[in-house]
């Protein structure tokens, strides 16, 4: 994915400001006022537009945040609609109970479908959701006893809410109910994006591997997003049932899912503001198109053609810069009216940091007071026994034994292809391995990468990556948050301090002209992220490669400081001269085996005496 410098320097673009959400709520109030003067036809239009906006918001969690292709959203709406319909007509429940049951049914369906299938790659998941929607439709067609089958389900009564019976003509009550639902949805989705769960969803959408090494349980987050979105689908369905009064499985075909997705595509980014604008364009346009076609006596197939062509144009349009230009125009128009577009006061944003005077850094973060001698203990932080890693027959590592003590810096050296990176991957759980691995006395051999990360294994990747959907502070905050498993308010405050300090470090003491470069920024972010937790194990994969002298010294200082905080560092590096300045011991690999392992001075002695450092 291409990230330009402009997106880096403008973190406020990625999140809705309070002002824009407040403005949306005000718009909802205005819509409420519209209820007093509307004709039935206008009501119909408004309600359909709101329904589509709600569907788009539900879909946004999955498609927009997690970047998953959900082609079966109509299935969840269908489930919700038929549940409410059946409960109201066949079992005579009251509406609130039926609505809550429908939400729960859709939610459960989301969990049941999502938990096993969200491990699949994107396209497979897309086709599974497609199949799910078809199966739901099939179920509604074949379950004639409950759903009326091919004849449809009719006679759904007007609901009674808080003692008020909603009247169908004119549908003022329905309209107000839907308006309340959509406002509540809007606020909840907005709030979700500001919580860490929302941040994790965005992170999952950006880079799954990076999530795993940052302690984010990718599948759990995806299931969460999918189930929430399914629940929202159920809610929409339950309103659908009471409003339209008649349900036919033909209403919930693939076309409905496609329409909902097209709104998310048109919105393009992950902001609610764009989503609402898109819904306000698509839904009425669809209705107007339909009426126009009906009146002009063109066949139904021409509508299908039009929808198809519009979809193609939409996706082509989104891929071109055109859309961003129009988006910028909309931003300028709306931004000019708003008092402060960057009103994210509660979230640390880079713009606020004073680069010359960074904020005071908390003691445990720098740990400069802790003397290195006092924390050099012999208690091993990580023990590896008999580690084997193989890729389909090729052995990358064989019978590797290794121990890393707290307060120790281990340099792993060796020629290319000797298994250095495989070792780091095996320790952080990115590749499967056999053997035993014990971290802090806990056996982590069978744990997935995210859980190892939570136990205190931080690593960097050879080519630095970061979550492009999150801003700099959020990138670091997220990793620290995932590490603290049950964050209390106190811990959260500390995480925020750490993140702020880390961002200050990003900008302080470095040559500033590299700031615009994406890879330099990513590598600094990942370095700050890896060292964000004192006293843990940090794995660095060639951290010095391609750095200038000033930056090298900065990284070496970070390593030394981390060691002083009773943490351990395993560093893979080719630049021996630099790394010898900070490391305590050396592990030399060759062809997947350890050929030397011991303190730095022994290695240097061996090297000076001309003997090959080998103890095979």
């Amino acid at each position: 994915m291409k990230v330009t410098a402009s997106t880096i320097s403008a973190p406020s673009r990625r999140i809705d400001s309070r002002t824009s959400v407040a403005l949306s709520v005000v718009a909802a109030m205005l819509l409420l006022a519209l209820a007093a003067v509307s004709t039935p036809r206008v009501f119909d239009l408004l309600i359909i537009a709101l329904l589509f906006a709600c569907m788009a918001m539900g879909l946004q969690l999955v498609v927009g945040f997690c970047q998953l292709f959900d082609l079966g959203y109509a299935g969840f709406v269908c489930l919700g609609a038929y549940s409410t319909g059946v409960l109201l007509t066949r079992f005579h429940w009251n509406y609130p109970a039926a609505a809550i049951t429908s939400i729960l049914i859709s939610l459960a369906a989301g969990v049941i479908l999502g938990a096993p299938t969200l491990r699949l790659r994107g396209d497979y998941f897309a086709i599974v959701t497609f199949g799910f929607a078809e199966v739901v439709v099939l179920l509604m067609r074949n379950w004639t006893a409950l759903t009326g089958g091919p004849f449809g389900l009719g006679g759904i009564p007007d609901p009674v809410l808080f003692g008020i019976r909603l009247n169908r003509y004119p549908p003022v009550g329905y309209y107000c109910l839907l308006l309340a639902i959509s406002t509540a949805l809007l606020l909840s989705v907005w709030y979700l994006r500001r919580t860490m769960l929302g941040g994790q969803m965005l992170a999952v959408g950006d880079d799954e591997k990076l999530c795993a090494i940052n302690g984010i349980d990718v599948v759990a987050v995806k299931v969460c997003a999918f189930a929430l979105s399914a629940g929202i689908g159920g809610l929409i369905g339950s309103f659908w049932a009471i409003y339209f009064k008649f349900l036919s499985y033909l209403d919930f075909t693939f076309t409905l899912s496609v329409q909902a997705i097209s709104i998310v595509i048109l919105a393009g980014d992950r902001r609610l503001r764009s989503l609402l604008v898109a819904a306000a364009i698509v839904a009425p346009a669809n209705e107007i198109l339909r009426t126009w076609l009906r009146s002009s006596r063109l066949p139904e197939s021409s509508r299908v053609i039009l929808v198809g062509v519009i979809l193609i144009l939409l996706s082509v349009w989104r891929s071109r810069e055109l859309s961003s230009r129009v988006g910028a125009l909309i931003g300028r128009l709306t931004g000019g009216m708003m008092p402060s577009p960057r009103a994210n006061q509660s979230r640390p944003s880079v713009a606020k940091y004073d680069i010359q005077h960074p904020p005071a850094v908390p003691a445990p973060f720098l740990a400069s007071e802790v003397s290195p001698a006092s924390c050099r203990s012999l208690e091993p932080l990580l023990v590896i026994r008999g580690l084997d890693v193989s890729f389909g027959g090729t052995k990358a590592l064989t019978g590797l034994e290794m121990a890393v003590n707290a307060g120790e810096v281990v340099a792993v050296i060796g020629p290319n292809g000797c298994g250095k990176t495989s070792l780091l991957n095996a320790i952080s759980g990115l590749v499967s391995s056999t053997g035993q691995m014990i971290l802090n006395g806990v056996d982590i051999t069978h744990e997935p990468a995210w859980s190892r990360s939570r136990r205190g294994i931080n690593r960097t990747l050879q080519t630095a990556r970061r979550f492009s959907g999150l801003d700099e502070a959020e990138n670091i905050e997220l990793a620290a948050w995932a590490a603290a498993q049950n964050p209390t308010r106190n811990v959260l405050a500390r995480i925020a301090t750490i993140a702020r300090a880390a961002v200050a470090w990003l900008h302080h003491g470095h040559s500033c002209h590299a700031h615009g470069s994406d890879s330099a920024l990513s590598s600094r972010i990942q370095m700050a992220r890896a060292f964000a937790r004192p006293g843990t194990l940090v794995l660095l994969d060639e951290p010095l490669a391609g750095l200038k002298e000033a930056d090298r010294i900065a990284v070496l200082t970070k390593i030394a400081r981390h060691r002083a905080s009773a943490g351990a560092v395993v560093v893979v590096e080719h630049d021996l001269e630099s790394i010898f300045r900070v490391c305590d011991s050396i592990v030399r690999l060759d062809k997947g085996r350890v050929v030397f392992s011991g303190p730095k001075h022994e290695f240097q002695l061996l090297a000076q005496s001309g003997g090959k450092p080998a103890n095979e």
Partner: protein, 373 residues
Amino acid sequence: MGTHEIWQSVANGVSLGCLIGLLAVGYSLVYGVAKLINFAHGDLFTLAGYYMLFFMVGSPSGRPRHVFYFLVSTTAVVAFAWSKRFFTGPRRLLVGCGGGAVGAGAGYLLIGRSSPLFVALLGGIAFIAVAGVAFEYLVYRPLEGSPRLSYLVAAIGLSLSLQGLMQLLFGTERRTFPPSVNSQLSSLPVPHVLVGYFTGLDLLIIGFTVALTAVAAWFAKHSIVGMCIRATADEPVLAERLGLNVRFAKVQVFALGTALAAVCSFFFVARQRVLEPTLGYSQGILAFAAAVIGGIGSLGGSLLGGLFIGMVLSVLPLVNTEPLIRQLPASWVRVLPSLNLSDWGLGVVYLLMAVVLIVRPRGLLSERFWRDV
């Protein structure tokens, strides 16, 4: 129900499965390189059926002249796209017009002249390949470098608009090949042992499917073009750096995949005797499910997946649930959904697909894809 009937269903399943499998092979080919669920593959399959139908019919019954529009426009687009190698500016439009003229000429020679079977078949294959390339150029090419979701939506859009166009131009009624062709195909000889299980057409289908899959697999594995295609599929950027023409590799794959769809379409319409605009939607989804079950990117796997689905669809109605229903209390039967398994064919297919994916996330026969660690 005798064993004879069971074997008949199994034989039916094999033939049907081969048809689905052949479509799935084309799907798989395109997916392997373009990494896109080409929803429009099924609709090109239908379009190929209409091409061949209107090449075969003699009298201007139906609406044969509408095929003309497709022929002219797709050849014009392809000529326009191809001319980029030689010209720039307005001269490309001239080349495009020339291409359109070629398409018109071919249409004049082929449409509504009750061409012999072979001419119709080859013409249909050639022009549907042209159409596949044209749609690749028009729809997927502008999307290069955009997120996968855009590709998916564009593919859905293309599928919908093709479906709508065919409904508008060819009408929604069900059609079939002219009786002369049908009788010609049904008089194919069958070995004595297989009479009652397979028709001559079925044997032809099975033979062609296996042969074409083998040829396509050999082509992808051993030919230079196939090697370019595989290199493009693995590392498009690296392939381009090596001087391979990545776009041309994609074009070749689209042409090949759509040509396979055309062959499949001929056999499908000849066997099932049905051709309607929405045919490709349902068949295309089945074929994609087959490709997924078999392991997308693996051609043999796709064929196997197709056989699997064909078998499920044709054997499922044989399972008699009457005794089971009779044993259940009547009050249960009244509330339960239909227990007649033939109502659930598609549902069972999707369920099996989900199960296969959960157990083997890359499909039954897929080679392991090497991904960055």
